[in-house]
């Protein structure tokens, strides 16, 4: 289990994340939502040790993230950030193989190859696995990076706005795959999302941030209702039920 205790990060004098304490439920999808600049990505970066917190701590199995050995941590928690510009030319398969680095240190065993195959299969990239990344569309590239994280085979998968630059079809595809990872393989997914309807339809828990603080934290049903959403976004957002999904109709709302 991942537990966040009193986490604070300042850039200059401005607190970007302030005194955040939450528990990430295992075996579920937790979405971080909130307006721009709420500190969602910064929080995710601190949980995944990409960024050091000023105060507070992140605990994985009751041990501070900073005390974990880097390669052991990499076998438990994976993170994918949004900007992934590469200076090297890699094929999809080479990239996905890097996901096995924490286990194999670059020398892939037969078992590693199997994980790589599965991850590529999972993301529907089999027919283009030998293509170079710079020949791919934004969506294909994103899927290749997600495949790398899947090959890493960690219990916790943290994703920072994985739906950025993706069209509707691929967004739905990726959210369905994440759902499958949780339901079939018992993974825990933490995801930063911009579109609250994806959060509503696919996640089990939602953490809403605003100005670096947690404003709401609970099950999806507790968050996706007009009252809670007004508090988070300062907008009047009607919520409609459609085939058992709660859809927020915010496109023509008045502040």
């Amino acid at each position: 289990m991942i537990e966040i205790k009193g986490l604070t990060k300042r850039f200059g004098n401005k607190p970007v994340v302030e005194d955040v304490s939450i528990k990430i439920q295992s075996g579920a999808i937790t979405s971080f939502i909130g307006p721009n600049g709420a500190g969602k990505s910064t929080l995710l970066s601190m949980v995944s040790r990409l960024l050091d917190a000023d105060t507070g701590e992140v605990l994985l199995d009751k041990n501070n993230v900073k005390q974990w050995k880097s390669d052991e941590f990499a076998k438990r928690v994976s993170i994918l950030k949004q900007a992934n510009f590469l200076n090297v030319r890699l094929t999809i398969r080479e990239l996905v193989s890097f996901g096995r680095y924490p286990y194999s240190k670059g020398r892939l065993t037969a078992e590693d190859e199997q994980f790589v195959d599965q991850a590529i299969e999972y993301m529907n990239l089999k027919d283009m696995e030998d293509k170079f990344l710079d020949e791919l569309s934004g969506g294909q590239k994103q899927r290749a990076f997600i495949a790398m994280v899947i090959a890493q085979d960690t219990e916790f998968i943290l994703l920072d706005e994985p739906l950025n630059n993706l069209d509707m079809k691929h967004s739905v595809q990726i959210m369905k795959i994440l759902r499958k990872l949780v339901d079939d393989l018992g993974k825990t997914v933490v995801i930063v999302l911009h579109d609250i309807n994806f959060a509503s339809v696919y996640s089990d828990y939602i953490v809403a941030l605003k100005n670096g603080k947690v404003v709401k934290d609970g099950t999806t049903n507790e968050i996706i209702n007009s009252d809670a959403l007004r508090e988070i976004y300062d907008m009047n957002i009607p919520v409609q039920e459609q085939n058992g999904c709660r859809i927020c109709v915010y496109f023509n709302s008045h502040s």
Binding site: S48, R49, L50, L51, D52, S70, D71, E72, F73, A74, K75, S78, I79, L80, K81, N84, F85, L86, N87, V88, R89, L90, E94, L95, F98, G99, Y101, P102, K105, G106, M148, V149, Q152
Partner: protein
Amino acid sequence: MRKNSTKLIILAIVAVICILLYGFYDIKGGFDYAFPRRMMRVGAMIITGFAIAYSTVVFQTITHNRILTPSVMGLDSMFEVVQTLIFFFAGSISIWVVNQYLNFAASIVAMVLFAIILYRLLFRADKYPIYLLLLIGMIIGTFLGSLVSFLQVLIDPVEYLSLQSRLFASFTNIKVELLYISLAILLLAFAYGYRILGQLDVMSLGRENAINLGINYDRIVLNVLILSSVLIATSTALVGPITFFGLIIANLSYQFLVTYKHSVHILGAGLMSVIALVGGQFIVEHIFEMNTTLSVIINFVGGIYFIYLLLKESRAAG
């Protein structure tokens, strides 16, 4: 992968041909006199070539930039500062110039200390991006360059001439003792450098992906910066500064060998260095008949290639 190994074998064969040509072509007078001296130069060129190849390739990985070389950090300037200060305060017949060991040691120690102090003071990856470090390195380098010019106009003209010959890279007067020391440093650096090659492969995915995969990113960046300073310092103290050389061979290797593996690129770039240096020296000695120096040719060709790279990058960006 198999294509890459074929290419490496071809490079190795060309390198050996260059070495044999340089070693045996047109030996006049005593073979026993000329041949060992030529081989000593070849040795210096191999050491320099691999030191520059390694340090440039890894430096470009940690800076995620293919038109930077470790010399932008002001290391070349530091070498000029040390030499100029020695000539300015002690003079060309002092022990600091006459004794090769002392001169060599002073240069290396100053350059490595300079690099370590710079990195230790400034390197806080979470606070400052590496580009700030580079910028400060460049500014200090420019400052040191100005300081050198200032001292050089004050110096006695005769002293200045003998100083100038030291500030140009040259493979012709290499002391065999320095060669052994350099080789020892190179081997020690490679012993550590070899172990982190796999981690450097992962680091070319960027800081965040590398940390995700369990790389102790910031520590390796610091170690690599220091390691490449040691290598550049050694090669500069041995033969003098070769500004553009690392840039050319690293980029040629990226174009010639398609892989993300540092081990392949370092070997490839190293072999290309040997070809360029030994072949270039052959041309200098037998075609230009010593009317020019290798570093002039390298900087000339390198400068043209650098402009080509800049134009290519700006076209890719635009």
